[in-house]
């Protein structure tokens, strides 16, 4: 998303009349006090957390959740015949049996997803099928005749990552407010957390998803919060140096870049002081270290970075009482799923990490006594094509996702799994799926579990009402 022009921002503020006026709900800026007033009647005094597991690059949903009834499976195998390793022997797949029928078809998970199969069978994970960015429901003929508004730049990583993480009314990405950040803003306005600094936490740099208007995100690595040397102890043997350093790091700055740089430094100092004692240790004295995963390509035990990120999340959750938080939103990232090339190996490797990491994380949540209070969910820029290039697939649109946790109404599939094959109703071409569930619905369902009211959800997701009278999905029970 190119931010060359300020006027685009002003466009979003003022635009309300378009030929598609009925579909665009203007993102009117309700004061956050009013948002607080829309709260559910029950106070949010229990602890709940959402963990966004972002599969960066566009995860191939087709190869993640596979329909295994003879008709579907042969269509899948045929479509993937152009590249070695992108279709699977039926015996290698991991069967799952969703409680709700999808037109009598059977399903299985990618061979590398043992961990997710276990979670699914234990009723602690569910599949949400064919989910993607939409402004309003769209059919193939509507798309082809240009009679329905569509999200902008559909197959661009940058824009679709932003659209997943920051839903805006015009289908582009919101300027810079992610829906996680927007949810955090609501939480902040209701004064649910006594310390708002620890509401939004990322282990993967700054995430658009967690960017809010009032709330800021912290990023924490597995090393935990590190203090600035030379502030607590003499600087080069000189305590005047230490006090000078502290003054300099809080000086008045006029230049905006210097000023905002300093804001980040100050936030870091404050966060470190609290987090250092609150966050549990990694290892036997705190949250056990995750096991390595078995790399399916090399057959070697390899460090699982996603699991380490989730361990960091678990360590922070462990300190929730000291942090004074009842509601937290986390962001972790795994990538790159952009498998134009070498998909057979790369996808297997990444899914192994994903399955192992989620199984590990859920076990930690249960051990910590918050197994029903933390919900992890996958998200991704987009799915991929069903047909392949010579050894991979290209950018798609709708994809299948997982929600994991004790509160999930698991062992089931929600949304509508598409008919598999070319030229089907949901196929925009080359097997790019037109989503039948929107990110708004997916996210709105999670937000409702998190404690937001209908009114608050409709404000954060301006197009929510475009998806029927009952847009919520049932995966949170």
């Amino acid at each position: 998303m190119c931010k060359f022009d300020h006027s685009r921002r002003s466009f979003l503020r003022t635009a309300s009349l378009t030929s598609m006026a009925g579909f665009y709900a203007s993102p009117f800026l309700i004061g956050l006090n009013s948002l607080a007033a829309m709260a559910q009647s029950t106070g949010l005094s229990d602890y709940r957390a959402l963990v966004c597991v972002f599969l960066q690059g566009g995860n191939d949903g087709h190869g993640t959740v596979i329909a295994t009834d003879p008709t579907s499976f042969s269509a899948f195998t045929q479509a993937r015949s152009g590249a070695a390793g992108l279709a699977y022997p039926l015996a290698d797949l991991l069967p799952i049996m969703p409680k709700t029928s999808q037109n009598g078809r059977t399903f299985a998970l990618n061979p590398s997803l043992v961990g997710l199969q276990n979670l699914f069978n234990a009723g602690r994970a569910a599949v949400v099928a064919n989910t993607g960015t939409l402004i309003a429901p769209a059919t193939k003929s509507q798309i082809n005749s240009n009679s329905v508004p569509l999200p902008a730049s559909l197959f661009s990583h940058f824009d679709q990552t932003a659209a997943w993480q920051a839903i805006a009314s015009n289908g582009g990405s919101s300027e810079h407010v992610g829906w996680g950040g927007a949810v955090a803003d609501v939480i902040e306005s209701m004064k649910v957390n006594s310390n708002s600094m620890f509401t939004c936490i990322s282990t993967s740099g700054i995430a658009l998803f967690l960017s809010g208007e009032q709330s800021y995100q912290l990023n924490v690595t597995s090393a935990g919060p590190i203090p600035i040397y030379g502030t607590a102890n003499p600087l080069f043997g000189n305590s005047a140096g230490s006090s000078a350093l502290q003054s300099i790091l809080s000086a008045d700055e006029t230049n905006l870049f210097a000023k905002e740089y300093e804001v980040v430094v100050q936030r870091s100092i404050q966060a470190q002081q609290t987090l250092a004692t609150a966050m549990a240790a990694a290892g036997v004295r705190g949250v056990p270290d995750p096991p390595q995963y078995l790399d399916p390509v090399t057959n070697k035990l390899t460090n699982n970075d996603l699991a380490v990120s989730l361990q960091t999340v678990a360590r922070i959750i462990s300190g929730r009482a000291s942090l004074g938080v009842n509601r937290q939103i986390f962001y972790v990232q795994l990538g790159s799923f952009d498998t134009h090339d070498g998909q057979a190996e790369q996808h297997a490797r990444l899914l192994s990490q994903l399955g192992s990491a989620l199984e590990y994380f859920d076990a930690q949540m249960v051990a910590m006594g918050v197994g029903d209070q933390v919900t992890a969910f996958t998200a991704s820029d987009f799915g991929r094509t069903l047909t392949s290039n010579s050894d991979g697939t290209d950018h798609g649109w709708g994809s299948h996702h997982f929600v994991v946790g004790g509160s999930v109404a698991g062992q089931d599939m929600y949304g509508a799994y598409p008919v598999v094959g070319a030229n089907q109703a949901d196929d925009l071409g080359a097997g790019r799926l037109i989503p039948t569930t929107s990110v708004d619905q997916y996210a709105g369902t999670l937000a409702r579990w998190f404690g937001l009211s209908d009114g608050q959800i409709k404000t954060i997701f301006p197009n929510f009402g475009n998806f029927g009278t009952s847009p919520y999905l049932g995966f949170m029970g």
């Binding site: 998303m1 635009a15 661009s156 700054i206 800021y216 590190i226 140096g241 006090s243 035990l301 199984e359």
Partner: protein, 948 residues
């Protein structure tokens, strides 16, 4: 209640349940009285816990009183898959997976009298007992071995127990675990699998044979393999497969080495230290250190070590003040560690030098202008290094500089990796355009030769030059070689004379991204270095050439999948990765732009996309049929396999990809309003030319490229006017040429918006966050930092906690470490409608990482800390005068723009360090503390972290 054993046998019960039920009856009755309604529904369990899938027959009174019971599990009639099921006879079957929580409550109700109180029992559901079938490998030698344990009923959290101790275990599935077994000694050892709670249980034990190990030696050059004369280099040594870890050491085959080639000794912790000789060995400065196992002398391992010249120390010069020349003044420079071939640098430029001895040089210098004179000594290769600066004086009234030192420093901050004393002096006397002209004419420094050399020296055993397989492994399948391009980058950015070209190349590589984080590029360290050199080579040429060279570069081909991209068929389409990114990121961006960089809007006020997915698909067909360049060979193996043509100086990683017509699409290709008709004969080069010409001539390119380069070099939010002026030069350099990069760079740096210091300093919206990496190079150049080992052993600084949070050629995605349009949320910058790209990598972790990294860097010295250190000689000379010290640091680091508050805070902190009298060591320590305080406090200040 009496037991009636004979009646039991009429029940058809599973044997286990039978015996459990029998046991219950034998043990006597419950305390319920006959006639109490509870007695009809009372149930009991023969056990307190049950493993998954097991069954238990509940004891009931049904056989005595005929009460028919209905059973519920956790309230569900008959139970369910999650909590277990129970049939009408009261046989409960535990579920397949332990539920959470793991206790189930079974209740019974009388069918006839539902109002009777319910009976209830609680059972704990336990994990199964694991079964071990096999180990692969089933036996192994001493050392660490990864073992697959297969069997059944493994539960997540199961642990492999080796010799009674739990080993880190990876759960792969219910039938497969993996673990790394640390078998320290040969023998027979017990192994079992233990399932976790609830109901933790062990499998049977398997006895495993561990054989004597094959001795294996491994040397770890964790401090690199370069060392300067007289210094020491520590190497790690791993010895496995034997209890006797002793080794004998030779250098160039001589036991222990000698004073000419250096010596090697073993340390008590098992590591090895190489002690470099006092003089670089000739004719070959590379020596071979070999460690041979005492236990098995057939096993040995070697490491090549490069011995490098010392860092010269310049103590004094006589005379230090002189008249301008001609005539030239002969000066005698005194110091130590001068090497024959050393050159004296006057204001950064070499002058005629005579080598008298290791402690004395004579130079004939003819400074043209009165004023300060910057003197340094540069020792020759191997391991060239400059001394710190000695400041002399040229008598007379200094000419009014064409550019003030402050403005010169500020310009150099934009145009180089950091201002130096010498450069400030030089530029201020000659002016901007002449400096630019010198830089345009300066020969290009290259990364590739040094990287190639380092790979060759550090590969053991060495490759014969004709051994393609060995050379391929060294250059194209070597993901251990990344340190070399990284360290070469540091050496080049810190010391290369063609600073402008290198700085522009750095910014180009942040737009035209490849990264060693992807497998293909990671394996090709020489290729990655060569890609960077290609950008630098084209930095002052034409954009059309740059676009061509990037498109056909094999590293880019690996990164964005153009290498080996095949024309489509019924089942496959060409890969679209390069087609999309070359438009989105490299040339035209997503939305149509005016020449001033603002977005064009349609009739309804919306931005206008530049391309659609159809354009991407059309363009993707053009980028088919290009792959490895094996001269004269377009066979199928050359197309798909690498590598056949690799050696020193040559290889598929270096040559631009070649075309393979049979793999090129002949279908119609429509993109950006251009249609290449379908044709009978494939024309990859012709189609490529049309595509690249179309992108080059696209109206978006001038503004798209110009604005981003301005953002990288000068300011994040250039005015539309600034962008227009530069875009106009891109379109036409004044001589009718489009895409003249030399002209564009000149336009960017010479524009009034870049040069107007006062306007920049007084406009809070002007400027940018300095990239952390550039803040580091800035420090290193300002204080003439040197590499202790000579290898510029910095590696990657991408870790946000322990490094700078970014590294050249290592960005995690094609979007670089920050995107041009990034807006930091919740900031005054956002409120002002501005962008702050470098804020995307500025977070609570990385700001701390930067401060801590710089503190260590600043305090490193010739014996401690990072490999790159400064002796701060020029600063030490004035540290007795805090004001002079802070002034100097202000000029070198902040172009004299320190505000008065910051200045006085630093001044006070510096002055608070007392300088004792008497002991010279104590005096030097105090002066050094003053210098470090001044330097670090400046680097730490948010004012410095921004650039305006």
């Amino acid at each position: 209640m009496q037991a009636r054993p004979e009646r039991l046998f009429s029940f058809k019960l599973p044997a286990l349940a039978l015996s459990i039920a029998a046991a219950w009856f034998m043990s006597g009755c419950s305390s319920i009285t006959i006639g109490d309604p509870s007695s009809f529904t009372a149930i009991s369990a023969p056990v307190n816990s049950l493993r998954v899938n097991e069954t238990a027959q509940l004891g009931t009174h049904t056989q005595f009183d005929g009460t028919k019971l209905a059973f519920y599990v956790n309230g569900v009639p008959g139970g369910d898959a999650k909590f277990g099921t129970i049939d009408s006879a009261g046989i409960y079957t535990a579920p397949t997976i332990v539920p959470i929580p793991n206790s189930v409550t079974i209740t019974s109700a009388s069918v006839a009298h539902p109002d009777y109180p319910k009976g209830t029992v609680t059972l704990a559901i336990w994990n199964p007992i694991p079964v071990v079938n096999a180990l692969t490998p089933s036996g192994f030698p001493e050392g660490d071995t990864q073992v697959a344990v297969t069997g059944s009923k493994f539960v997540y959290g199961a642990k492999v127990m080796w010799d009674g101790k739990a080993v880190d275990t990876t759960y792969v599935s219910s039938t497969h675990l993996e673990a790394i077994i640390p078998a320290a000694n040969p023998g027979t050892f017990p192994l079992l699998v233990s399932n976790p709670d609830p109901g933790s249980a062990n499998s049977k034990t398997v006895q495993v044979q561990v054989g004597p190990g094959q001795v294996e030696l491994k040397l770890q050059a964790y401090n690199g393999s370069d060392v300067r004369v007289r210094n020491s280099l520590n190497l790690g040594l791993d010895v496995t497969g034997t209890i006797n870890k002793a080794v004998t050491l030779t250098v160039n085959g001589i036991s222990g080495g000698n004073s000419t080639i250096g010596t090697a000794t073993s340390n008590s912790d098992g590591s090895i230290t190489y002690h470099a000789p006092p003089v670089v060995p000739t004719p070959n400065n590379v020596v071979t250190l070999t460690a041979t196992s005492v236990d098995n002398p057939k096993i040995s391992v070697s490491q090549n070590i490069s011995v490098l010249n010392p860092i010269p120390v310049l103590t004094s010069a006589t005379p230090l003040s002189m008249n301008p020349g001609p005539p030239a003044t002969t000066i005698v420079l005194t110091g130590s560690d001068f090497i024959n071939g050393a050159q004296v640098l006057m204001n950064g430029a070499a002058v005629s030098t005579t080598f008298n001895s290791g402690t004395q040089l004579t130079a004939s210098i003819s400074p043209s202008e009165p004023g300060n004179l910057d003197l340094q000594v540069l020792n020759p290769s191997p391991g060239p290094a400059t001394s710190a600066d000695l400041i002399g004086t040229v008598n007379g009234t200094p000419p009014v500089p064409i550019v003030s030192p402050q403005d010169a420093a500020r310009f150099l901050d934009q145009a180089t990796f950091g201002a130096t004393d010498a450069d400030i002096h030089h530029l201020s006397l000659i002016g901007y355009q002449p400096w630019l002209n010198e830089q345009f004419a300066a020969p290009q420094s290259l990364l590739t030769p040094g990287v190639e050399q380092a790979l060759i020296v550090n590969t053991q055993p060495a490759c014969a030059s004709g051994d393609v397989k060995c050379n391929a492994a060294m250059f194209l399948e070597n993901n251990q070689g990344q340190d070399y391009p990284e360290n070469a980058f540091w050496q080049q950015s810190l010391t290369a004379p063609d600073q402008l070209r290198q700085r522009v190349a750095y910014s180009l590589h942040e737009m035209l991204v490849i990264s060693m984080t992807s497998t293909g590029v990671m394996n090709m360290p020489r290729g990655a270095a060569h890609y960077y050199d290609t950008l630098a080579a084209d930095a002052f040429g034409n954009f059309r050439q740059l676009l061509q060279d990037v498109t056909l570069n094999p590293m880019m081909g690996q990164w964005l999948a153009m290498q080996g991209n095949d024309k489509g068929n019924a089942n496959t389409d060409p890969d679209e990765n390069y087609a999309r990114e070359v438009m989105q990121l490299f040339t035209i961006g997503l939305y149509q732009l005016n020449d001033d960089g603002t977005q064009k809007l349609d009739g309804t006020g919306k931005p206008i996309p530049t391309y659609s997915n159809t354009d991407v698909m059309g363009l993707a067909k053009v980028f088919t049929g290009f792959s490895w360049n094996v001269p004269g060979n377009t066979s199928d193996s050359a197309w798909s396999d690498c590598c056949m043509y690799v050696g020193p100086g040559v290889g598929e990683d270096l040559l631009p990809m070649q075309s393979y017509p049979s793999h090129h699409s002949t279908a119609q290709k429509a993109f950006l309003g251009v249609t290449i008709p379908s044709s009978g004969s494939p024309d990859p080069n012709g189609d490529l030319k049309i595509a690249l010409d179309t992108l080059f001539n696209h109206p978006n390119l001038p503004a798209f490229f110009s604005k981003q380069m301005i953002q990288h070099l000068v300011t994040s939010n250039p005015s539309p006017g600034y962008v227009s002026r530069v875009a106009a030069v891109f379109k036409d350099n004044g001589l009718g040429v489009r895409g003249d990069l030399k002209a564009v760079v000149t336009a960017i740096l010479m524009d009034t918006e870049a040069r107007d210091t006062v306007a920049g300093a007084s406009n809070p919206q002007f400027g940018k966050v300095r990239e952390a990496l550039l803040r580091y190079t800035h420090w290193a150049r300002a204080f003439t930092a040197q590499s202790r080992t000579g290898g510029y052993w910095i590696g990657s600084t991408e870790d946000p906690i322990w490094g700078l949070g970014q590294m050249t050629l290592r960005s995690p995605t094609v979007f670089n470490w920050f995107a041009p349009g990034y807006v930091p949320p919740g900031t005054t910058i956002e409120q002002a409608g501005m962008t702050g790209p470098e804020f995307q990598m500025t977070n609570v972790s990385s700001v701390v990482g930067y401060l801590n990294y710089m503190q260590t860097a600043v305090s490193s010295d010739s014996t401690n800390g990072f490999d790159i250190f400064s002796s701060y000689a020029a600063e030490m000379n004035i540290a007795g005068n805090p004001g002079a010290l802070v002034d100097r640091v202000n000029l070198l680091l902040m172009s004299g723009q320190m505000d008065s508050t910051l200045y006085s805070q630093i001044l006070s902190a510096v002055s608070a360090v007392p300088v004792p009298a008497g002991d010279q060591n104590a005096i030097n320590a105090a002066l050094a503390a003053r210098v470090r305080t001044a330097v670090f406090l400046t680097l730490a200040s948010p004012s410095y972290c921004a650039q305006y």
